[in-house]
Symmetry: C2
């Protein structure tokens, strides 16, 4: 697609807002819609155009990017009342960057294909920091030619932009990614609970362990937050729980038991059972392990 292509952007949350900003600053004409209009204000100040509905955003764009919350939200934005599908022109492309069910994205892709529109599933990993710094990993499924045409746009948003297979493949790989994030967090919380109660210096312990065979992104990035008792969300527990349900449903369809992922879900649920727990960051799983160990978190 040419540099001058017109982009529509739906979903201006913690991820979408900085991502839309990168596209705007890269010079793409951008029209935007979000459930909460105030979230668009900084983008409108930078030259984006507000549209009142998904259908209005979709009109006259070459590429529509959606990054909302869950499967139902993507279905609503595309095929609900004033949905984008009604006004997407044949030959245009939709890139859905929301984390949703692989089977659902395949159904949506088929429905859009009937009107000559290509849907790519392109969920991301790297969190809010990755969105702000344009260092996301973007894993895309769907038509390879369409992917190559939108790749220059996606490369404004992420450092690693990969086509991983046919429709649904991006979502399947994202489901795998969430398994890793969740299970790695169990290890971090168990190891740091032992280290803490054994009165090791937690900061030094994390630095030392992160350099060895036990190292992980979770340990290096969320371990220090645990050491500093900072449970504020980079990624909320209620959102990883949503994603893990997708991982389990996907594995269920494939006939694969996931006992580690199941354990992570239960430990996250124990944190959700506490007031405000669902809105804490995933590192708050430490509370579940500490509670098991007899230290009731307030």
């Amino acid at each position: 697609m040419p540099e001058g292509l017109r982009i529509g952007f739906i979903g201006l949350g913690i991820m979408g807002q900085p991502m839309a900003g990168h596209l705007l600053r890269a010079g793409y004409p951008l029209s935007v819609y979000s459930r909460t209009k105030t979230k668009a204000t900084p983008l409108l100040d930078e030259g984006a155009t507000w549209r009142d509905t998904p259908a209005d955003v979709a009109r006259d764009v070459d590429l529509l990017i959606t990054i909302v919350t869950d499967t139902l939200d993507v279905e609503e934005v595309l095929f609900g009342l004033n949905g984008a599908a009604a006004s997407l022109r044949s030959g245009s492309c939709v890139v859905d960057m929301t984390t949703i069910r692989p089977d659902a994205t395949r159904v949506l892709a088929q429905k859009l294909a009937e009107q000559g529109v290509t849907l790519l599933d392109a969920p991301v990993t790297g969190g809010d920091v990755g969105a702000r710094e344009a260092t996301l990993t973007i894993m895309a499924g769907g038509d390879a030619d369409a992917f190559e045409r939108v790749r220059p746009v996606l490369e404004k948003l992420g450092r690693r932009v990969v086509h991983v297979g046919p429709s649904g493949s991006g979502q399947t790989l994202k489901a795998c990614n969430q398994i890793l994030c969740a299970v790695n967090m169990i290890g971090v919380c168990e190891a740091l609970t032992v280290a803490q109660r054994a009165e090791l210096d937690l900061t030094q312990a994390i630095e030392t362990l992160a350099s060895g065979a036990g190292g992980s992104w979770a340990l290096a990035n969320l371990g220090p937050k645990i050491a500093n008792r900072d449970l504020a969300p980079a990624f909320m527990i209620k959102l990883i729980q949503k994603d893990l349900r997708i991982s389990q449903d996907t594995a269920d369809q494939l006939g694969i038991p996931l006992p580690g992922t199941a354990l992570a879900q239960q430990l996250f649920r124990a944190v959700e059972a506490q007031a405000g727990g669902a809105e804490l960051g995933t590192q708050a799983m430490i509370r579940a392990i500490q509670n098991l160990a007899g230290e009731c978190a307030k």
Copy 2:
């Protein structure tokens, strides 16, 4: 300690042999003992001196390094028949780099202290590759002054050499490290089983996931072996199982349930139940997940 200090080295297995080699090439006079004398041959060719018993190695050395298999082996080497303790001179230092129980190393340190000998517990992480390339992470517990005196020697063996606290602290941190290695492996095996059955390109999936928030040493280093069906040991399942028993015993003494570690132990046990399984590398946990998913490994 001066450069000319005399070092004794006990245990020339997959880790000890290359480590002793580094010390020899760094110019330290080195006497060695191992249960299997043939393992010493390459070192003797390079100038090391063979001794027939631990007691003989310990005579006249300033520093004795031990890296054997398990708690009982360290106890035997130090205090068994012809054990090193009988001939260690007052003022000398023992650095035990075996992974053993934190409580056991504290007892050994106390016994050696009675004869004026300092014991540091200094287990390592980084595997056989780390031993060969001298890139190990070494986590030491015990007297801080003694640690500073032997630090130059340890820095010939590892890239990150850290004093983490009083006697036993090195072993406690190693117990935490093994929790991370084991639990991270669950995530890797669950994620890759989903990716494989969903017919994603496994090599590309690993590269993509390793760059994101699900990344870990286990995924980056052992994931490709799983993709290549290479289950040969860098670190054998029977050895991590030994280490995880130490992790669980340590956590038990601290009153901390470790459900994720327990799950890893059970999955490793499922692999051990297969002929030859105990001698495979830790990445062979993939067999347990695949068997759960109905793909019986031969």
